[in-house]
């Protein structure tokens, strides 16, 4: 059977502030610029899963199942929140690089083994980050 990929895009609105506890205030401002101020984004979370196309359904994954998983593990946790306050960002700065890895790890745990191909997070229309594990 053929291996194909199914992709889905979700939106997540959250606030954050890029600030490292290991830097001084002046260093934080120099490093992160305006991102050192609290602000927010409409993030787009793109999830790609890969696998055999099921003979009976014609699908790699049932979209309803994928939607439920992403809703439960990612959107319910992060949408309309302050990322800096989440336990997963206590010890790391909520850059979009780190958010991408966090979302990948959370979904890797929640989805069937081997299915998750990548997570892409678009912070704005002009920048995005991708993690494949």
């Amino acid at each position: 059977m053929a291996k194909a990929y199914f992709g889905r895009r979700y939106m997540l609105s959250a606030s954050h502030r890029l600030h490292s506890e290991s830097l001084s205030d002046a260093e934080n401002r120099a490093t992160y610029g305006k991102c050192n101020n609290p602000h927010g984004h409409n993030y787009v979370i793109e999830v790609l899963v890969g696998g055999e196309v099921d003979r009976e359904t014609g699908m790699v994954v049932n979209m309803a199942t994928l939607d439920e998983t992403v809703q439960e593990h990612v959107l319910a946790r992060f949408d309309h929140t302050n990322l800096n306050c989440d336990a997963l960002f206590v010890n790391q700065v909520p850059t979009t690089e780190n958010l991408t890895k966090v979302v990948f790890d959370v979904l890797k745990q929640a989805l069937p083994a081997g299915k998750l191909e990548y997570v892409r997070v678009e912070e704005t229309e002009n920048n995005f980050f991708e993690f494949r594990g």
Binding site: A4, Y5, F6, G7, R9, T57, G58, M59, V60, A64
Partner: protein, 141 residues
């Protein structure tokens, strides 16, 4: 190696039904996509070919040529059609025109033409059913 992608759009109708299943099971698995009278989408097809730029033309492939291949091999049969009823891959084989299967069908139609031309190989076909839903096929078995 360079990858080159061309986009095209087509509009088509379809439904998801496994004829071996009961009405209830079709509704349970496919939801509103199982409705017998079907529904439609504006699909976006992304075709990616890869190869080296020709030293004389600077092209991996001529984009106009690729546009014509997509038109002749895919759009001519898929655009403004009912996929379940009118497109052989789905109508004759009773294959469900999911986004995954549409991507595979498009690959199977495009691959011989790209291979025959030489110089570049088909590396990816991605089909967007909506801006938020897509499937892709890279020729993997």
């Amino acid at each position: 190696m360079i990858e080159l992608t061309r986009r095209a759009t087509f509009s088509a109708s379809h439904y998801y039904r496994n004829e071996a299943w009961s009405e209830e099971k079709n509704e349970e698995v496919f939801g509103r996509c199982a409705r017998r009278n079907g529904h439609g989408h504006n699909y976006t097809l992304e075709v990616t070919v890869s190869g080296e730029a020709d030293p004389v033309t600077g092209f991996v492939v001529d984009l106009k040529w690729l546009k014509d291949v997509i038109e002749d091999e895919v759009l001519a049969d898929f655009d403004h059609r009912h996929l379940n009823l009118e497109v052989p891959e789905f109508a004759e084989k009773k294959l469900i025109p999911t986004t995954e299967n549409i991507a595979i069908a498009a690959w199977n139609r495009l691959e011989p033409a790209v291979s025959k031309a030489g110089g570049a190989r088909l590396s990816r076909v991605r089909v967007y059913e909506t801006p938020e839903i897509f499937a892709e096929y890279r020729g993997e078995q």
